[in-house]
Amino acid sequence: MPTPAAERVTCPRCHAPLQAPNAECAACLLALAVDAVDDAPPLDDARDERSRSAPAAPTPEELASDFPQLELLERVGVGGMGAVYRARHLALEREVAVKILSSALAADVRFAERFQREARALAKLDHPGIVRVHDFGRAGQHWYLIMEFVRGASLRRKLASGPLPPAEALAIVMQLADALEFAHARGVVHRDLKPENVLLDEQGRARLADFGLAKLLGDPLDPGRTETGVTLGTPPYMAPEQLTQPQDVDHRADLYALGVLFYELLTGKWPLGRFDLPSQRAGVPTQYDAAILKLLEREPQQRFQSAREAADALTGLTGAEAQVEPAARDDDEVDDREKGPQASARTTPQARVLIAAGVTVLASFCPWFTVNLPRRGSTWGDRWALHISVPEPSIHDVRFTVFSWNAWTNLLDVQWPLWLPAVIALFAALDSMLAARGNWRPHPRWCLALCSLALALVVQTLREADSPHTTYGIGSLASAGALLVLVWHYLALQLASWLPAFVKVDGPRVVRKPSRRRTSTRSSRTR
């Protein structure tokens, strides 16, 4: 019973659904434009067109007179807030990036204030994971920010070609957690952490940029800058409290954004609505799920309480990653759920069925246990007493128990309402434990099996049978159970996705509905 997702043809690079196996991926083409530096069009008419459509950003030549200390080389990007230029600082003799506030917005007092706030916040931070600010102020008509020039590309650009390998994603997220810890310790919250704001330098190190929305905690001159109701941030990365109580946002909002970013790095998607666990979608070890879900908790107090705490949990994942690593490197293009290399390293469904079947076959050849269950007794005790007799083991018994028609018909005819679910429950529990490998928690399959067992007990209690005793072999039961495990696998997965009651058990169903409760920032301020 294949799932609809398995039938869809997807792009090997970004996993977007495709119309046909070899069709061009529209998502990959559209992704070219994400975070693209809109510069140097080769044709004159195109240049003209751009100057008309893009927000007015001054050319390096126009800015030269306002910045005598700089040699402005080129414009490297234009965004909503302004333009960024590459320049050479004549006194420092080094390359710098100059951010110029858009002239249209410079007139807006609030916007200029926000710009100054960004500069002040950034100037406080000196950390290898954070883009440094050398200087800021106003020159002529322009508010400016002189920053370290980072050669490389943004994380968004890197993501445009699809999810990252788990080890790489983990390394980046750990570096970001480190940088966030440093900033948080100085009372600076980023508030707009997203792949666009993470630059990867030439050494592949992640550098956090654009503390443009940072709120300076504990600054007496800045009491809740967003109290006017202006919500700052980028929706998919915003913690629920950023939408509901922007004035109460603290450093834990950054940890939420870090969780979104981590999820996106691993899967290429945002964890919106009901989302799959990273282990299901990207084949990473299940320990990743716990860390990411904790980062994505709706209530700030349920998340990690500091970036340090998150970094420690992430460090714990490096071990899990090492177990997966050798197999994970071979091939990263196949569908992870069916034949993903990561999945195979952590017991695929097929392997689990094989193990279950193996156990069953072994059980089938241990026929000397025969269970006699009285079908009708005068008392409750008689009815449910298990009489286990141990006959003489003989070749005849083996043949009888494994291939006996009687055993099978008994099973199917009279006893199945009780025993079949019982065996399935056992196998499902075994299977869940194998799947989780030490990180065990109730799986919907397991819960469903227990429910069906309970139901069968009720049915069996109400049932009347004619024969006083029924005899059958454990081996036959186990064989039947194993045959049904395969069916069970897919059936349980389907059922789990239909039954909302199992949402919590399954773990990944985080609904991003902002909570109404106010969150306290007092504890974080003292931290």
């Binding site: 070219l32 975070d35 080769p42 195109a46 965004g79 909503g80």
Partner: protein, 246 residues
């Protein structure tokens, strides 16, 4: 989207870049003709999105076509269609206005008009059937609309890119390099293309890289035209990307 339809350069499309959709709707009589041309460009680009929405809502081909045609005719003639408040993106505006239009449209009125009304956009069968094929079974009408809108942006950008390259006399080069735009730099097709254009693979990589950057520019320009505020561009782009990857 394997091949680009051969279309003549679109003058109105180029002119539209000078303005944004919100200004188009607000424009007065002096610039009416220009604005109508710009609006027509928007209709031509985004009708599949509305058509997909209508089909996903359960309308048959003829009904969906009538709705879309009627909607555009009204939009271009009267420009008095209103969406919900706060629709600062053309994508939201268009869908909101279309929903309102469809809700107000009496079924009997529609059937009387069928066949007799003006065809504002050319809803060709081929594109319509391609749209229907592209509808994923699990998509909601809104999701189908978003996906088709994203494809419309991409389609328009590719058309602009082709027009631009043709105007620069690089039509053959463009048509040869066009399939490489969606591929990695190390794809085997590079060797074939290099042979066909009698150039080296390194030179080809540079050319494809420049084309990709131009395509990125056109996508951003197309999208900027469909937004009221330029700072929404990146977020809109991400949203459309998410729609395609869903």
């Amino acid at each position: 989207m394997d091949e680009q339809p051969a279309t003549e350069p679109r003058q109105e499309g180029e002119r539209f870049l000078t303005t944004r959709w919100s200004q188009v709707l607000a424009v007065r009589s002096a610039d009416r003709e220009l604005a109508s041309a710009a609006l027509r460009h928007l209709c031509e680009t985004y009708w599949p999105a509305l058509y997909a929405y209508a089909r996903r809502k359960g309308a048959a081909h003829a009904d969906a076509e009538d709705l879309v045609q009627g909607f555009f005719a009204r939009l271009i003639e009267k420009r008095d269609l209103h969406a919900e408040r706060g629709a600062e993106r053309f994508r939201s505006y268009l869908l909101g206005a279309f929903r309102n239009f469809a809700a107000n449209q009496d079924a009997s009125q529609r059937s009387v008009r069928r066949g007799g009304r003006e065809r504002v956009v050319s809803i060709d069968e081929l594109t319509a059937s391609r749209v229907v094929e592209g509808l994923a079974a699990h998509d909601s009408p809104e999701q189908a609309y978003e996906r088709q809108f994203a494809l419309g942006v991409l389609d328009s950008a590719l058309r602009r890119l082709r027009d631009e390259q043709c105007a620069g006399g690089r039509q053959i080069q463009f048509d040869t390099l066009r399939p490489l735009l969606g591929l990695d730099e190390h794809a085997t097709s590079y060797a074939e293309a290099a042979e066909r254009l009698a150039t080296t693979q390194a030179a080809l990589r540079v050319a494809v890289h420049r084309l990709k950057r131009r395509l990125a520019h056109h996508i951003r320009a197309e999208l900027a035209g469909a937004l009221a505020r330029p700072e929404d561009l990146e977020a809109e782009l991400l949203q459309l990307l998410a729609a395609l990857r869903r």
